[in-house]
Every structure is written in structure tokens, then in C-alpha cells.
């Protein structure tokens, strides 16, 4: 089995839709014949999809309050008695 060194570099651009026309056609021809590279394309795509599925966690409420205090203190130290 041959290693697909050259392809692997292109596959990432390919899955992001950033591979130029001629190279893209060349890679697609290779994909028809090479199962590993096909699986690589599929799983690399899925990797990013899975990463994007996570629900963003908001800043915990307790931290929000702690942070406000710390920022106010630092602000007063820096700007002294200036009114806010």
C-alpha cells in the first residue's frame, strides 16, 4: 500500500473547499481509487462538525460577580478618584 503523503496536505484544503481547480480534480481522481483517503476526507470533515456541535458554556454567575468586584477595584486603583 502506498502512502499518500502528497494527498494528505491537500485533503485539509479540500475539505475546507480551498483547493484550486486542477489540484482538486487530481485529488478527486485519487479519491476514487483510494479508500483510505476517502475515509480520511470523511472523518476529517466529521471531526470539525463534531467540534462545532458543543454548546457554548456561559461564564458562571459566581465568577461574573467576583470579576465585577475585581475589575472595579483595579479600575479605582488605576484611575483613582475619577468619577465613572
Amino acid at each position: 500500500m502506498s502512502k499518500c503523503d502528497k494527498q494528505i496536505q491537500q485533503i485539509c484544503d479540500y475539505v475546507d473547499g480551498e483547493l484550486d481547480g486542477a489540484l482538486c480534480a487530481e485529488l478527486e481522481a485519487h479519491l476514487k481509487e483510494c479508500r483510505n483517503c476517502r475515509l480520511m476526507v470523511d472523518s476529517l470533515k466529521q471531526t470539525v462538525v463534531l467540534c462545532r456541535e458543543g454548546k457554548p458554556e456561559p461564564l458562571p454567575k459566581e465568577l461574573e460577580a467576583k470579576l465585577s468586584d475585581a475589575l472595579r477595584r483595579r479600575w479605582e486603583k488605576k484611575f483613582g478618584g475619577k468619577k465613572t
Binding site: M1, D13, L39, G54, P56, L59, L63
Partner: protein
């Protein structure tokens, strides 16, 4: 522009203006720190340090970048400082992620199918979280910025002060490493 005005006010000592400026960024900085450290305590420290540093340096902000980019840069410096403490697995060179590579005993890639059929969403997110947190941040950072914060490769390169090829190569290595980690877990589960 409103942001500009708020920055000028903040630089003059207006705390309310500063709070308005950072309001939309707190969750974002926390999310970024959490992804890169995989650890709530560290992420909380990083958030606090980032905004304190923003106060310390607010007069040095020159409007050359957006305020958000500036905050992210401070946050990433703090992530770097925190990540220095932990041990992370180095990543292999790109060629070694290929099947039948010299150091690989796997000849065939595994057919993933739909991982959601085998794992719950929560499990999948935990696997990803851990894999990212185990990776050196020089790889996970550009990957997260590119695919989870939806920045362009150019923007990532600029923020990290890297060349375009270096940025692309790090993103690719992170992506390959993450892919391999997921594949190992999926393969194991199916063979159980």
C-alpha cells in the same frame, strides 16, 4: 463608530464605558480559555487575568485592531502562561498520521459511519474536550480559532503572528491528531 467612542471614554477613566465594551466578550474569552485548557478553574483565572490586564493596558490600546482581537491576544498570552504548567503530549509529524506510515501499526482507516449512533452527544464533546486539552496549545489554539471561533486562516495567522504556511500546518496537525484520537475511541467501542 461606537466602539471607538467607548474606548476613548474608557481611556479617560469611564468605568461604565469599559464595562459596556467588555460585556459581549466575557463569555467568549471564557469559552476560548475553557477549550484550550479543558479546565474550569484555569479558564476562570484566565478570564480574570485577561480583563485585569485590559484595564492595566487600556491606554496602550491604539485602535489598530478591533477591541475583541486585542482582548483575545491578551487572553491567549494568559492561556500560554497557564499551559506551561501542565504536561501535554507532543504531536507527530503529518506523515505519521497516515495509514501504513512507519510508526503506525494500522493499515486501514476505520469507517466512522455516524458517531452519534454509538455515542451520546455529551460523550462526544467530552472526548473532544479532553483531546484538545491534551494537545500542545501551539496546535490547539489555531485549530480552535479557525474552526470553533470561525476565524479565517489569515485572521488566525495575524493574531498568532505566524506565517500562513505555519498556521495551516499547525491547524492540519491538530485536526489530524484530533481525528486520530476520535478514531481510536470509535474503533475501540465498536470492537468491545
Amino acid at each position: 463608530m461606537i466602539e471607538r467612542k467607548l474606548i476613548q471614554l474608557a481611556q479617560g477613566g469611564d468605568f461604565n464605558a469599559f464595562n459596556t465594551l467588555i460585556a459581549g466578550h466575557k463569555d467568549k474569552v471564557y469559552r476560548l480559555a475553557l477549550k484550550l485548557t479543558g479546565n474550569r478553574e484555569d479558564a476562570e483565572d484566565i478570564v480574570q487575568e485577561t480583563f485585569l490586564k485590559a484595564i492595566d493596558n487600556i491606554d496602550k490600546f491604539r485602535m489598530e485592531s478591533s477591541f475583541g482581537t486585542w482582548l483575545y491576544t491578551i487572553a491567549l498570552n494568559n492561556v500560554r502562561a497557564h499551559a506551561g504548567k501542565g504536561k501535554r503530549m507532543p504531536l507527530k509529524p503529518i506523515e505519521e498520521y497516515l495509514p501504513s506510515g512507519h510508526s503506525s501499526d494500522v493499515d486501514e482507516l476505520f469507517e466512522w459511519g455516524d458517531p452519534h449512533q454509538v455515542f451520546e452527544n455529551k460523550q462526544l464533546q467530552e472526548i473532544i474536550e479532553k483531546a484538545l486539552a491534551d494537545m500542545p496549545i501551539k496546535y490547539s489554539t489555531p485549530f480552535v480559532l479557525r474552526y470553533m471561533e470561525e476565524m479565517s486562516v489569515n485572521e488566525v495567522a495575524e493574531m498568532l503572528k505566524l506565517s500562513l504556511p505555519a498556521t495551516k500546518s499547525r491547524i492540519l496537525r491538530a485536526r489530524l491528531a484530533l481525528r486520530e484520537k476520535l478514531e481510536d475511541v470509535f474503533r475501540e467501542r465498536v470492537h468491545e
